[in-house]
């Protein structure tokens, strides 16, 4: 995959965020403390400027707490940007403490995008674990949108969570499961008494579903250990490293290739990623 350069953002104060209002908060998982925030920019210029595509991320900030890079989980086909955030440390806690109507800082969009053109005319397989669905959801919604659906062939979604309470975006999952033009599979690591679906890890489910590699692209996001086994599984199914797309997470600060923090080999994950092909990953130092 080539280094994808998004549009130039010269002549802006790169570190001053635009301000947005939180217009909705959805508690996705009480167990994992994960919430989705829907935002609306305070001014039109900022809304205009925030033109994004699936795969990109933004630096969200709370004045006094700091900034954190978060994937844009909505699709540009939706009216407002959405961010699904797991409470981890200082910044994500501060964001979780905000309510509807509060303002939040947004810088971006940053990073490259999923290879939208390369994927046209192909069968698409999504393999997600836990919060790894957040960046992929943007692409799923984008592809399923009436404007874009015809450009992609069969769409298969394989999603796993630790427990039934850990499934994110339940409203979307239900829709995807019902759609005729999507094959949807889900699993939990550990079932409970209320759950009647599959039990087992994502890589096992992938092996069962056994998607064909011919004319296909697989996209996978999730915890590192899951990714490791999914990559093995996909390889066994005949997927070449060029047919597998994933995202890398590195600690980030600037998001614009200056601060050096996300550097791996010749790549800066914030501008050359976060989307990488498995081929690219095989060629870089194992420092992620």
């Amino acid at each position: 995959m080539k280094k994808v350069k998004p549009h130039s953002q010269k002549n802006q104060s790169q570190y001053k965020p635009s301000l947005a209002r939180i217009i909705a908060i959805e508690v996705e998982s009480a167990v994992r403390d994960t919430r989705t925030f829907t935002l609306e920019f305070l001014d039109d210029a900022a809304r205009e400027q925030f033109q994004y595509l699936p795969g990109q991320f933004a630096e969200l900030s709370v004045a006094g707490a700091g900034e954190a890079p978060i994937s844009i989980t909505s699709s540009p086909t939706q009216p407002h940007p959405e961010f699904c955030i797991k409470r981890m440390g200082v910044v994500t806690r501060a964001i979780h403490n905000l309510s509807v109507g509060d303002t939040i800082g947004v810088r971006g969009p940053y990073g490259n995008t999923f290879p939208l053109e390369t994927m046209e005319g192909k069968n698409i397989i999504f393999v997600a674990g836990g919060i790894g669905l957040a960046p992929l959801r943007s692409l799923i919604i984008y592809m399923l949108d009436a404007q874009h659906r015809s450009r992609y062939k069969d769409i298969t979604i394989i999603y796993g969570a630790r427990s039934p309470g850990d499934f994110l975006f339940k409203r979307d999952l239900k829709q995807w499961a019902q759609r005729q033009d999507v094959t949807y599979h889900e699993t939990v690591d550990k079932a409970d008494e209320t759950y009647t679906g599959k039990e087992g890890f994502v890589p096992q489910l992938l092996e069962e579903v056994a998607p064909k590699s011919a004319n296909a692209i697989a996209l996978t996001c999730g915890p590192p250990i899951m990714i490791k086994f999914v990559l093995q599984g996909l390889t066994k199914l005949g997927f070449t490293p060029d047919q597998i797309i994933t995202t890398l997470e590195m600690r980030m600060k600037c998001g614009i290739g200056k601060c050096g923090r996300c550097n791996i080999g010749p790549y800066y994950v914030c501008i050359d990623g976060p989307v990488f092909s498995y081929r690219q990953i095989l060629g870089m130092p194992q420092e992620y």
Binding site: S8, S13, Y15, E67, G105, I256, K258, G260, R261, N263
Partner: protein
Amino acid sequence: MAKDSTKHLTSKLLPKKNLEQFLDALLKQYDVIAPVEQNGFSRYQKITRGTECCLKYRLPRNSIKEFFLPQDETLFFFEPGAASLSDAPSAKREPIIFPVRPCDVRALTILDAVFDDEQFSDSYYVEKRRRMRLIGMACLEPDDTCFCETFDINSTDGTGCDLFLTEVEDSYIIDVLTTKGKTLIKTLADAPQELIQKKKQQVAARRKSQSLKLAEVQNFLKQCFESELWEEMAAKCLSCGACAFLCPTCHCFDITDDVAGKIGRRLRSWDCCMFPKFTLHASGHNPRTKHAQRLRQRIMHKFSYFPENKSLIACVGCGRCVVACPVNLDIREILSTLASSTHPASP
């Protein structure tokens, strides 16, 4: 970086005894940054009088990068709780650095490649760079720790400066290289031809700084990623970061919020890839936990990754890291050790 043309306009004469007076005249209109003597070394800082400038040491301990990328810089102010941000005020007087050595000038072109690239230009850096005037000075005698020549830096060439001084007998010949520079030397007389000739002879006869064989540096480093030598070389590294903070090309930074009462600031501050927490994720995962991995990152970034991306080696051979390291790690030795490990001397 768009600088005005660097063709040589004229040569002026500044007798050494008039240097303080020259600086005092500049101070009337500009902020002047010059080396100031401390305990056995000098540091670049803002001066208030020409007499404070000390040229006893070749390279001040700090580099000039802090005047473009300050150690702590306010990106903007905010009032905690209020939904508005305000810009940090910019300095009123234009600054001048005197004197800048050719290695440090090259270091600025490396920082330019980072902060003023075609995709994202960093207005904080670019604005400071635009306002700055550089008065360079030739090195006719390198220090033991200088190895600028390794990177094809000509220590008598003023490219990138507005004015460039070369010491000749008890005077400086000032080459005027830009129109911005011209405004600084209005009152000086032209240099006499015989001194200009003498300068040329001196430049030709200068003692060059040491040169490492770096032609294949990128290639050999690629082969060295998995080398056991990293562990060995990094064994004594303290991860103190002195090397990176003093380095004119190291530019890693952190962004944090600082709140004191009703005034909040988003700050950018120097950081360093040699610090263990540099790459620590919120989850506790850390891709570079060992000294060896971090030393490797610093070296690979300068000599392999950066050249791959920007076609420039991110070291200028100033030797500041060599002088400053408390446990005497020497970047020249690191490179030559690695180089000879991939090309073992044939018997």
